[in-house]
Amino acid sequence: MSDGQPVVARGLVKRYGDVVAVAGVDLTVEPGDVFGYLGPNGAGKTTSLRMMLGLIRPTEGSAKLFGRDPLVDGVKALEGVAGFVEGPRFYPYLSGRKNLRLLADYDEPNSSSRIEEVLETVELRDRAKDRVGGYSHGMRQRLGIAAALLREPRLLLLDEPATGLDPAGMRDMRDLIRRLAGDGITIMLSSHLLYEVEELCNRVAIIRKGSIVYEGELGDLLATATTSYRLKTRDPERARTICLNQPGLGNVALGGDEISFSADEDAVALLSLALGHARVAITQLVADTQSLEELFLGMTGGDSSDHDQEEVA
């Protein structure tokens, strides 16, 4: 057993010639975290995960897993660590069980005694004798988790675990991750699915164009969200005037018969009294809390994949 935080990345850079895939990633995953690694496609998530797993060499900086650097310590740095990048891959001409047997033989200590147990965990036991070539995408994802669990990891690194799954598959995957986290496994998962992160993660890092633009508690991030309101009344013009004169309201705008403004709860309470006092009947007052998605889009500049280096990598 080694010491140190599950993941510590410092100044991680990966360049391919003139192309910068990862421009400088600093992040820390703490024990017990379900850590969401968020970013648009091509922002550098997969490339940084590859560096953490020792699959590619960083141009600069280091990534340490429980205090060990894969670049220095080789596969010893992966003790207690498992996961996959860019989707789990298996030998299509071997059965699911045989693939796991192979990987168990590649583990130290040999993990073959756990094969049936992990197949049970991911509910693949019935299909384990079939060739992986005939598996659906969802089954491969689950086999990927099974292969990772063989190692009895303390840290799971999962790259887009729910991508490409149907809604039921996604829900199953989230349930599985929640269960594994409940068992005390630290999990770092990359995703561009915000509700997935919102549902599962306690801490997040957001990467944009190869650099981290936010790292911290998910709750803290959501607390920075502003709340806006939509108001409909019987007399929009008078309501607008009242809103403009009401303390604590900002960004008041009238569009059609609907007024929008930003405010906190106390200011909204006072506004409703003021409207009542002026005999302006309210027909609708709706709060629009800024979602993680809007925060995310704000931070990532709304770009999706103009920095598409994962394919180059």
């Binding site: 020792g54 996959f84 590649y106 394919e311």
Partner: protein, 271 residues
Amino acid sequence: MVGVARVYRWEVAKLLAQKRTYLGLFTAMIVPIIFVVALEVQSGGPNDVPLGRYIRDSGVVTPLVVLLFMSIWGFPLITALVAGDIVASETHNGTLKTILTRSRERGQVFAGKALAAFTYTLAVVVAMGVVGVVAGSIAWGFHSFTSLSGTPVSAGRGLGLMFASLGVYVLPLAGIAAFGLLLSTITRNSAASVVSTLMFALFMQLIGVLPGTESIRPYLLGTQFDAWHGFLRTPADWTPIVRAAWVSAIYIVVPLFSAYLVFLRRDVAGE
């Protein structure tokens, strides 16, 4: 060593689960049968090649004559089919990252793969030899035959010499396998490395027949495919055999070690 043995065992298991493995093996086994059948239905023979005139004397001669015909591209192609594919296909399928994130060092993974590729090379040559002797013996019997020096060789001793010849023949073929491994590691593209390996083998043969290359000819890989003739002389001529050993060793070690270094350091990224 345990780690390498485990990887090796699985590399062999993977080869046994793939069609291309059997394609090469089947080819190596069917060629001597076709050869025997063709000679049975017609009266001529490969009289212009060493031992060709004695092909109908004994089944032991069959594999040795087939070796000559398989040297140009038959065995190099079969060898390239596996050696050129063994790393590249895993890069392409993304399984390399699967196995490199377990507990085996990259060096162990590479060693297991290289051993499996060499095992295959040896297996196809031996398979051709065994099938050739059996098919030839069914057609013409298991008799004594005439050596390259014109002296008689008993069937039993001839069988021993035949297997020794196959052993020497495998050495330059292993050089081709090593080159295939290097390309497989560098190019990450199975088809490209298989084809390029075959081109390399053909190129090596080509240099050997060009005028003006006489001085370097003994040190070309293609030349070593004939080294086994030394065993079929009386007394045995060890000069070409010893040279085949060290010349092939160079052709094996240089690409193999280069591939090893590349494999240790290379980025395992998307296909």
